[in-house]
Amino acid sequence: MRRLAAALGAAAMLTLPLWLASPYHLHVVIMAGIFTILALSLNLLLGYTGQLSLGHAGFFGIGAYTSALLALHWEWPFWLALPSAALTAGLAGYGIGRLALKVRGAYFVLVTISFAGVISLISINWMELTNGPLGLPGVPAPELPGLSFRTKGAYYYLVLAAAGLSYLVCHRVVRSRLGRAFVALRENEPLAESVGVDPTRTLVAAAVLSAAMAGVAGSLYAHYTRFVSPEVFLFSYTVTMVIMVVAGGKGTLLGPVVGAILFTALPEALREAMAWQWQMVAYGLLLVALVFFLPRGIVPTVASWRR
């Protein structure tokens, strides 16, 4: 039964551009894929190590700008720009991870939010590099010999592959020794240390991995929309990621995926019904309601019903 459902789901995902005719719906699906990577990445920190990063839009934006700048100024192909974006964002994650050694909990949140704030101000003010608030238009679409990812249909498969790969990476990491060390630190840091978990290296590893994944999402976003502006650093992106992870179920593998798909589709479905501000009001109230009524998230709650 489960296998059948999984096979059907995989078949539906693989053939999606064939039966989903409307380009608008395909766009929503592609954005859901990019947000899946972001939610998976945030979940590594928030869900598994228990450290909330409110600077994730910063890593996302660093990835987007790195990729766009390399492609525009040095004409690097997408296939080199994407790993460079992951690397640059990962380096930023390394810096933030080193800070996590000194501060935890609320203070870690403040450091990450300040980091994203500084990066965002740099992107607005460093005109020579980033073209300021005007942004960078004309980011090229990825190309392969005989294959262009200029169409939404082709880009869908690229994002699907990246999201699938991110899921597998998270799956591997979470079940590894490192992943168990994440959870051990979340549950009881002194106890984890007493059995040989090195908090320094473990948290830095989590931050680097998480930031690099967000950088990949940023690069995919830049080459998809073909335009990068300081808006990639908007705090509402970070909030959206947090809602996706918390609603889907933090500390589960499937939770962020469910959250990302749900919360990309939901605002689009509501777009007809209510104005954007009402949507944001609803978002805020939803976050409050989730904490009160569904504190563990959708996936763990559904899983406990089945048992």
């Binding site: 403040l110 009001v281 109230l285």
Partner: protein
């Protein structure tokens, strides 16, 4: 040199209101262990309440500022009773998420009510600056800094000299022991949150006429309040006052001598540097990080 003195005076005006924001937040953060990302929303509320009292209520400016402070306190008390009281034993992350949700909902609610166009708040002061030797200060700004200082003084009296203040300090030091001594912790939390929110609303009511009132004005105010709290140390009233003044002056100097585009980066850099180098704040005697 004259420019420097002028920056210093402008920084002091900003710093006084930052201190108000910081004192409110440091009490809430320290006493309730709550990362209150909605703090800036009370600042916004203060500015809009002043505007509403003037434009719709037709009162005079000083009554409007007082009304804004009362509205801030009432909204704070309500928020604490409805959203925070049921979650008092939850983890710090849980309450923080609730405050983030409240922040987003309120800010966009304000956008719906007042629209995205910034509102200018009228005030009765003449616009010609008072010139004192090398520096000039607009009468409105003088009023702002004096009122801020007065409110800081009142806060200090409340914390140090009243029964409520004693109970608040006891709760900050050790919640359980304070409860055993007959302090009603629930009421202290409500009072602290209402008081902190009233100070934030006061800051909004005072800065609103200098700048403008717009729905997202609270975002930066929250972050600045956090930088002040981190500079001054958790729950440290004198630290928050000094921290506010330092931040105000540092911003003015940064905007004047480095680049006005990076004015708002000063607060962020302070947060990162202080947490890196001296996480208990500049003025704390002992480590108080958790």
């Amino acid at each position: 040199m004259d420019a420097f003195l002028q920056h210093l005076v402008n920084g002091l005006v900003l710093g006084g209101t930052y201190a108000l924001l910081g004192i409110g937040l440091t009490l809430i953060f320290g006493l309730m262990n709550l990362v209150n990302f909605a703090h800036g929303e009370f600042y916004t509320l203060g500015a809009y309440a002043t505007f509403a009292a003037l434009a719709l209520g037709g009162t005079n400016f000083f009554l409007a500022v007082a009304a804004a402070i009362v509205v801030g306190a009432a909204a704070g008390a309500l928020c604490e009773r409805v959203l925070l009281r049921p979650l008092r034993d939850e983890s710090i992350d849980t309450t923080m998420l609730v405050m983030i949700g409240r922040w987003i909902a309120l800010q966009n609610g304000e956008l719906l009510v007042w629209g995205g166009v910034a509102k200018s708040i009228p005030h009765p002061f003449p616009t010609a600056p008072l010139v004192l030797g090398p520096v000039g200060i607009a009468p409105l700004r003088l009023f702002v800094v004096l009122t801020a200082l007065g409110l800081i003084g009142l806060s200090w009296l409340l914390i140090q000299k009243t029964r409520l203040g004693t109970a608040m300090r006891a709760t900050f030091q050790d919640r359980e022991t304070a409860a055993l001594m007959g302090v009603r912790i629930g009421r202290i939390h409500t009072a602290t949150f209402a008081f902190g929110s009233a100070l934030a609303a006061a800051a909004g009511a005072l800065l609103g006429p200098i700048f403008l009132a717009y729905p997202s004005m609270g975002d930066l105010a929250s972050l600045k309040a956090f930088s002040v709290v981190i500079l001054g140390g958790l729950g440290n009233l004198a630290g928050a006052t000094l921290g506010g003044v330092i931040l105000g002056i540092a911003e003015e100097l940064g905007a004047g001598y480095v680049s006005s585009g990076y004015r708002d980066a000063v607060g962020f850099v302070i947060i990162i540097l202080v947490l890196l180098l001296r996480p208990s704040g500049l003025f704390a005697r002992s480590e108080r990080i958790g």
